[in-house]
Amino acid sequence: MSAAANADRSVRRPVSIASFAQSDNVRRENERNEVEMLQPVVAEVFANIGIDKDDIHFICSGSTDYLIGGPFSFVTALDAVGVWPPRAESHVEMDGAWALYEAWVLLQEGEIDTALVYSFGRSSPGNLQEILALQLDPYYLAPLWPDPVSLAALQARALLDAGKATEEDFAAIASRSRKDALGNPKAQVSNDISTEALMKDDYVVSPLRRHALPPITDGAAAIVLAAGDKAREWSDNPVWITGFDHRIETHSLGARDLTSSPSTAKAGEVAGVADGAVDVAELHAPYAHQEIILKEALGLGDGVRINPSGGALAANPMMSAGLIRIGEAAARIAAGEAGRAVAHATSGPCLQQNLVCVLEGGE
């Protein structure tokens, strides 16, 4: 870890990704509800490092009521942990990556050393295309029911018109992601299929073909954070968070240059992405073309390995796909495949809100 970089950044206290677990990512989880889906993931994230809930000082989760179709989706989810005696606990109506941020903030103060972060989303019971339309401005946009694929297609079209990408680029990203996903046992979509073959797909909404869209996924994920002595107690080679920030843009698509992501660029700058070489990046790009925008915003060159897990094109569990990027990036470092990695999460239409987490191995 580069101590000099930390002095300039907001990282006062090194915090490690001590453990990561995720469910199988599937199109339709019919057998289990949210709590039942989450419980084995929480059990695994503890078992990985031989701890239990009594070792956890703070719990933070990310989820949204609109997937479950009822208020307080996070309430019963707590039963997956079993918060008795009572625990210090919080919840964000955001992807779990932001829950991780909230927990990381608390750990910066030095009063507590450990946190459990989890998130979950089951998209199969509803119609995601309709549900996500309700995420838009409730007065001027939502009543028109623009679906997320159509909005992403507007962005992809703008990218093509700007000469920043071709449709073949989208297919090549999908081809690479699916092939990488063959090595990810948790992935939902994985196969070895060429760019040329993918180009024969039909358009879903021009210029986006089927392969450029994320799958609809049910899934859950969890991470344990550790600081201080706990980080070294729970790992011989901790993976440290060395930079962390997130930023939001305006909601109005007409007021944004959809071919760029200034919020990602700003978050990357504050997190210190450029302070060292990046070996691996896990980018939460639900649509293939968004990887191109994010790479540019983060200044990632062609030498950076992008989404070795297969990324969101291989599995996109709502509210967890961002948290999983952080877990996957940490796993690459823990496995010795990378020394420094960047993880990214997004929320909102056309990459409106973005989070960047820089991870490093070593002392």
Partner: protein, 384 residues
């Protein structure tokens, strides 16, 4: 070591049954602008925005913070959205405060709201779920049996709830922002109001409000504004499971643990003697005596005696809910933040007609769900 953090600006809307003159964005901006003005700051001085609200179904807009980012000056900044049920206004304040006490930011804007008239909270709380018992009675129907249990345990007489209903509504007359202004309320009118959920009558229940609350929090080096800062002496959240055998929903362990944590941080050993004023989440009248016990202001079973003796009245030794409380204004997502904000006003001496003289320490409390989520803070006029 945590950095010191203080409330340096507060703002709120005039809470009403219907704010049909304004959009959600306009409503949150109204409160936020007032808080910025109070802190003598502008939008560009703010480093990050933390927003909270209760279930998105209350307005029918999913993750509305995305749409609200520009209205709150959050573009280009970090923005977090908290949701912890009814305690959310308190939890949101605490998440915002940690952004400062962790040393990450200097000035944070925190906002909470509900525009209940956009939808029907009773409906939104009662959406049928597979394999779950339907809750078709809203929050009052859920809490009424716990109130009955409290009455049986403590032997409290029936009129205690009515006393709280009258006291908080008369306090609300002093608060120009309160939703309900009922100058003619008395024990008789409460007793004659319609029975909703036995033993709760109409006038013993909170209203359904549109409204927003906002605060500016700052690090020690960034304190501004004409009123003195209200320093955070302690803050905590606690959660417990919704249902399990042996859970005490009348006097929840999570509430006791949360207050014990906050008191320890603030160095408080005798809350009744050391806390000058408290804003406590009392959506149904009987929750005042219940929380008096849960928060350790008296021994178990004695809460109603404090209420009956007038200890919690405006001129009592521990004034509770001098703003009128949740019983007088209830924009659900903001109701917890209003408790946290009102004690900031008391500590800063800016509460106007409902100011208690010489407040040096004050407690704000919020709870939510089925009494399993708690958030609290203690503010003081002296640096901790």
């Amino acid at each position: 070591m945590a950095e010191r953090c203080a409330v340096i600006g507060v703002g709120q809307t005039h809470h009403k049954a219907k704010r049909d003159d304004i959009s959600i964005a306009g409503m949150v901006r109204e409160a936020a602008k007032m808080a910025l003005t109070d802190a003598d700051l502008t939008w560009s001085d703010i480093d990050a925005v933390v927003i909270g609200k209760a279930p998105d179904m209350f307005e029918g807009s999913m993750m509305p913070e995305l749409y609200l980012a520009p209205a709150l000056g959050a573009v280009g900044k970090p923005m977090l959205r908290v949701h912890t049920a009814g305690s959310v206004g308190g939890s949101t304040s605490i998440v915002a405060a940690h952004l400062i006490s962790s040393g990450i930011h200097q000035r944070v804007l925190t906002v909470a709201y509900e525009k209940q008239s956009d939808s029907d909270a009773m409906w939104a709380l009662s959406v049928p779920q597979p394999f779950a018992a339907p809750l078709l009675a809203g929050a009052g129907g859920y809490f009424a049996p716990h109130i009955r249990a409290y009455m049986r345990r403590s032997g409290a007489p029936e009129h205690i709830g009515r006393m709280v209903a009258v006291k908080d509504r008369l306090n609300a007359i002093r608060n120009p922002y309160a939703h309900l202004h009922l100058p003619d309320i008395d024990m008789k009118t409460v007793e004659e109001s319609m029975m909703l959920w036995d033993p709760l009558r109409y006038l013993e229940a909170c209203p359904s409000s549109d409204g927003a609350a906002a605060m500016v929090l700052a690090a020690e080096d960034s304190v501004s504004g004409s009123y003195p800062p209200a320093w955070i002496h302690g803050m905590a959240m606690r959660s417990e499971p919704t249902q399990f055998a042996g859970r005490d929903q009348v006097n929840p362990q999570a509430g006791r643990d949360c207050s014990a944590d906050v008191y320890a941080q603030a160095g408080i050993t005798n809350p009744r003697a050391e806390i000058d004023v408290a804003e406590v989440y009392v959506p149904f009248s009987w929750y005042e005596p219940m929380w008096l016990e849960n928060l350790g202001f008296c021994d178990l079973g004695d809460g109603w005696k404090l209420t009956e003796a007038g200890a919690t009245a405006f001129d009592g030794d521990i004034p509770w809910n001098t703003s009128g409380g949740v019983l007088s204004s209830n924009p659900i997502g903001a109701s917890g933040m209003l408790r946290f904000l009102e004690v900031a006003m008391q500590v800063r001496g800016q509460a106007g007609e409902h100011q208690i003289d010489g407040v040096s320490r004050a407690l704000g409390q919020a709870y939510g769900g089925g009494s399993q989520f708690f958030s609290m803070w203690v503010l003081g006029s002296d640096k901790p």
